[in-house]
């Protein structure tokens, strides 16, 4: 029921390389949304078309792809990339050329705050850190050990340290390992030796989870959202047990407003979606909504203006006029738990 010239939207995701764990689900979410938007009439009757490119998890490539999409393919807006570094890199081009961008990451370094047209559909790391601490508080853990990687983990840690004091939580051991490490038992042993009451694991791999169980840490483990995916759970094997995760989507037990999306996704892909699928879906819907509001041929600036409004998405409630370019409230988090390798949703929520 759509016709005419498609409205072209560029998307950059990491389908290969270290970020493939993010990029592949994001691409799935995007393509699903494309179908959904077009089925619902597209952009004022015109079809929407996502041109999805792979940046191979490399910021330099992301930059080239952005240049291609914007100046070669003349896209109206850009979605992605999947990784923070690439987002910051691409933001330089979109910001300078006034192209609206919705990144599948949380806001990064200070420059990004000036880029008022680069929205983010995932929470800033400060919020992720807060969610971890909220959960620790809820189980009355005051001494916490941390195991984190040098990339994602480092960034969250930087936010977590000052916040922990406010929550009256003492970080008794903070151990780091390099990205892609195949063994972190020694770090885990150091955490264990500090006798924490709970352990945070902030990583994008299954290794630390396995190691923590291997050396028989029995305290509750709380994982950051980055390691919440079915691939990692598979790779954890029997270690995927008794791990709490502050996140947004539990496909096995979705919140009411997530049900429709989860069903649609299951039908299309025969698997259960998680956070990144939902984030990409939301980003697609947001840009479509903005286009519908401002008109398919609106300039970048107009489109930006149209985007800057509260939006209730599958993942969370956003408000892109917020200072952190995402506006996700802590109350959007849900807390899941891995039990015997399966996700379950806990009743715990944080109210503002």
């Amino acid at each position: 029921q759509t016709s005419g010239e498609p409205v072209k939207i560029g998307a950059i995701v990491s389908v290969t390389g270290a970020g493939a764990g993010l990029g592949v689900p994001e691409r799935n979410g995007l393509l699903l949304a494309e179908k959904d938007i077009n089925a619902k009439g597209g952009i004022k009757g015109r079809p929407i078309k996502f041109i999805v490119e792979d940046d191979a998890s490399n910021p330099d490539t992301a930059l080239s792809k952005a240049n291609d999409l914007i100046f070669g393919q003349k896209v109206q807006a850009l979605l992605g990339p999947s990784l923070t570094a690439s987002t910051v890199a691409v933001g330089g081009v979109t910001h300078a050329n006034k192209i609206p961008q919705i990144a599948f990451t949380g806001i990064g370094p200070a420059v990004e705050r000036e880029r008022k047209c680069v929205a983010h559909v995932l929470p800033p790391q400060r919020l992720n850190a807060t969610a971890l601490l909220e959960y620790a508080k809820s189980i009355k853990a005051t001494k916490v050990g941390v195991l984190h990687d040098a990339g994602y983990g480092n960034v969250v840690m930087a936010e977590l340290r000052p916040l922990a004091d406010k929550y009256g939580i003492k970080l008794v051991a903070v151990e780091k390992f390099e990205i892609g490490a195949t063994d972190t038992t020694t770090q885990a042993a150091k955490v264990k030796a500090a006798q924490p009451e709970a352990v945070f694991i902030i990583a994008t791999s299954a290794t630390p989870f396995r190691n923590v169980k291997q050396i028989q840490i029995t305290q509750p483990v709380i994982a950051a959202i980055g390691s919440s995916s079915y691939e990692y759970v598979n790779a954890m094997g029997p270690a995927a047990d008794n791990i709490a995760i502050p996140e947004f989507v539990v496909g096995e037990d979705p919140l009411p407003h997530q049900k429709a999306f989860v069903e649609l996704y299951k039908q299309a892909y025969n698997s259960t979606p998680k956070n990144y699928e939902a984030a990409a879906w939301d980003a697609a819907q947001i840009i479509a909504a903005a286009l519908n509001k401002a008109g398919a041929d609106a300039t970048g600036e107009k489109l930006c203006e149209a985007m800057k409004a509260p939006y209730s998405g599958v993942l969370a409630n956003y408000d892109f006029s917020a200072d952190d370019m995402t506006g996700i409230p802590i109350s959007s988090f849900i807390f899941s738990k891995l039990v015997g390798g399966k996700y379950t949703r806990t009743p715990f929520r944080v109210t503002q």
């Binding site: 290969t16 493939a20 764990g21 195949t182 038992t185 042993a189 150091k190 291997q214 598979n234």
Partner: protein, 295 residues
């Protein structure tokens, strides 16, 4: 720093060291038999482990049969690479750099193929000796790691004996040291090189299968293992399987002791600095031997 922490670090160091050593041994075997630095040695591990995983989950073969299947897959890929590429390039007198580029290219291809055809999931294999652990002074080591250590030591000794006690082992070394000399001594240089790659593939695949219960396998594992295996092999002297074992253990122990001794943030900095210092002090590798200087 408690005793149990130190012990735990040593356990981890030895386990990781054996992992590095297994990969390093394959690397040094291939170097010994062909003078090629095999930048895809880690991919052999991925091939072996992935094949075993697939055989186990998709066909329901019994575990030992799946392991054998994985090892054979590694050997076959090794043979294929020699016959399809290395042989042809050797005939054209290709330089060391181009062999390095070849194996880097193959490593990229294989890792991308695993991602493309099998997917990005990590997989585990059942540990030998079950999920059990040994606990000494609060430090934990898995039964599988003990198996791994035993097999690693056994493989080192077997490989050493193979190279110096069997004619075929000697011939493989001879063929790579001086091809013309070997050919005129009745050694089929081409066939020896094929054997070398079969052996390298076999060792790599077995290594991969053995480490998977501990560290899991996914498409990205290869490069990581190759780098560590390369470090182990070179540190030990490059042409000596025993050297790779010593190199691997040194590296593994330095890494884990750096974590408890200094700080996990500076683990790589410390470990690689120590590695550089060892090499400067022993420029032929730990078990290497200096050649004749001068004329």
């Amino acid at each position: 720093m408690t005793l149990s922490l130190v012990l735990q670090a040593i356990f981890a160091g030895v386990t990781n060291g054996i992992v590095y050593a297994l990969v390093g041994m394959g690397l040094s075997a291939i170097f010994k038999g062909s003078r090629v630095i095999n930048a895809m040695q880690g991919e052999f591990a991925v091939i072996g482990a992935m094949t075993t995983v697939l055989l186990l989950t998709k066909t329901g073969w019994p575990y030992p049969a799946a392991i054998a299947g994985g090892a054979i897959a590694g050997a076959l890929v090794g043979a294929f690479i020699e016959v399809a590429f290395v042989r042809y390039m050797a005939r054209k007198n290709a330089s060391e750099d181009s062999f390095l580029l070849l194996t880097i290219g193959l490593a990229l291809t294989l890792s991308a193929s695993v991602l493309f055809f099998i997917g990005r999931d990590g997989h585990l294999l059942p540990p030998l000796g079950g999920e059990g652990v040994l606990i000494i002074l609060d430090a934990v080591i898995q039964f599988h790691a003990l198996w791994l250590i035993a097999i690693g030591i056994g493989a080192t000794l077997a490989l050493r004996a193979f190279y110096h006690r069997t004619t075929i082992g000697l011939s493989m070394m001879a063929a790579s040291i001086d091809a013309d000399g070997a050919a005129t001594t009745g050694i089929d240089v081409g066939r020896m090189r094929t054997f070398t790659f079969v052996l390298g593939g076999l060792l790599g695949a077995l290594g991969g299968i053995l480490v998977t219960p501990l560290i899991g396998v996914d498409y990205q594992l290869g490069l990581n293992l190759t780098l560590k295996g390369f470090a182990a092999a070179v540190l030990g002297g490059l042409t000596n399987p025993l050297g790779a074992a010593v190199g691997g253990l040194t590296l593994g122990l330095v890494e884990s002791l750096a974590i408890i001794g200094i700080s996990s943030s500076y683990k790589d900095v410390v470990a690689f600095s120590v590695l550089i210092i060892i090499m400067i002090l022993m420029p032929q590798g730990i078990l290497g031997r200096a050649g004749r200087r001068g004329g």
